[in-house]
Amino acid sequence: MKSTIDPRVKLLIIICLSTLGLFFSDIKILMLVFLIGLILSILFKGSFFSLLKRIRMIFYVFLVMVILQSIFQQSGTPYLTIGTLSILTDEGLLRAAGYLMRVLIILISGVIIATCDMRRMIQGLIQMGLPYDFAFMTSIGIRFLPLMLTEMKDTLTAIQLRGIDIKKLPVKQRIDLLSYILTPVVASTLTKAKKLSLSVECRGFRAYNHRTSIITLKLSPWDYVVVATTLFATAGIFYLGISL
């Protein structure tokens, strides 16, 4: 499936998923959109669950969101109160669940697009009219993001190996420490960008106005079926969401 679906079709799918995710606030619709995204990501051999494992922290954010939504959204049936202050309400829980669903839809969209071969993805963007420079910059950004995350992790390890126990630091000092974590990451990114720019210039990047490409994408009949199904399903969910 990974090689057969055109990247432009996957782009259309994620545009539909994220639009539905942002347009509706009804939890049932959001869950339906997420479920469709999850099935698609499995069909496209995406690694959603390993991504979830890596971002476990999001569940702590969810817990904080539930409490915040409950505190600021005092309507609804309270499940947990301290004095007159509601800490957990059904309304707050629903809103937080909606927020979590939206985040998960964005993540699942990212997983679906990550199943595209990047070279084909760029070609797809170019054939859709995006200037090559922008498409190239996008691909570089996508390729460098995991490297930056690894560097951030290495920096955290190196800081801890200097004897600093981050977990034991007060919040103010932790925030202050962020500048020391970001300094090597930013410095390394700048160095990489400089080297990359020199390297692409040396290989004749932008030497001519028009670039030819060895790859040309062509939509297959199967792609047309997927496009039609996606548009039909999106329209159906819109109808369902509005009539609910």
Partner: protein
Amino acid sequence: MKPYITISNMSCSIQNALILKNIDLSLYLHEFVALAGPNGSGKTTLGKAITGIIPIDSGDILIDEVPLSTLTLPQVGNRIGYLFQNPDKQIFAPTVYEELSFALKYKGIPLEERDKKVTQVIDAFELSALRHSSTFFLSQGEKQRLAIAGLFLNEPSYLILDEPTTGLDPKRTSQLGLLLKQLLPKVGIMMISHDMAFIRDHAHRLIEIEDGGIVNEVHY
């Protein structure tokens, strides 16, 4: 003499690939051990496993008779100084002085004592001329020295240096050799390196690693 670091029957994998197989090794204080072997043989993984950066699959690692599994990274850092292959990874502050002082600040050491300690290390590592220089524009050799100086402020008992001579010219390599010689009465050193000339000149013991296992040990 008791070993400072004891590794028994240790195996370690990265992303399901077995990198180190049944390693048994003892490392002593005041001893200079060189770890050599082909690319991908597991040298860096061994260094990282000893410091707890990479978790091990099985076996035991004891640091000063304390199981590594019971220590946090900061606790390991106070015992073992680990120099990364790329010193840029462990230079965090915009100036040399700040780089050396920031860790002490977070450990709650008062300003006066901090300044005294940093000045001592700056002098010991011949970084006085660079005290207020930007760390971004230092040469590779200066970065190496600064990174080792930063490790030394923790007063570790053992140093693990991952290819510290890479990118250094002969003069800087020889200066690094002298520096390590000066440090040896205070610490034990394990250096990962391909530089056989440097190893022959400075190491007491050479451990050769191949395909994730120790294949040879030479005493100089």
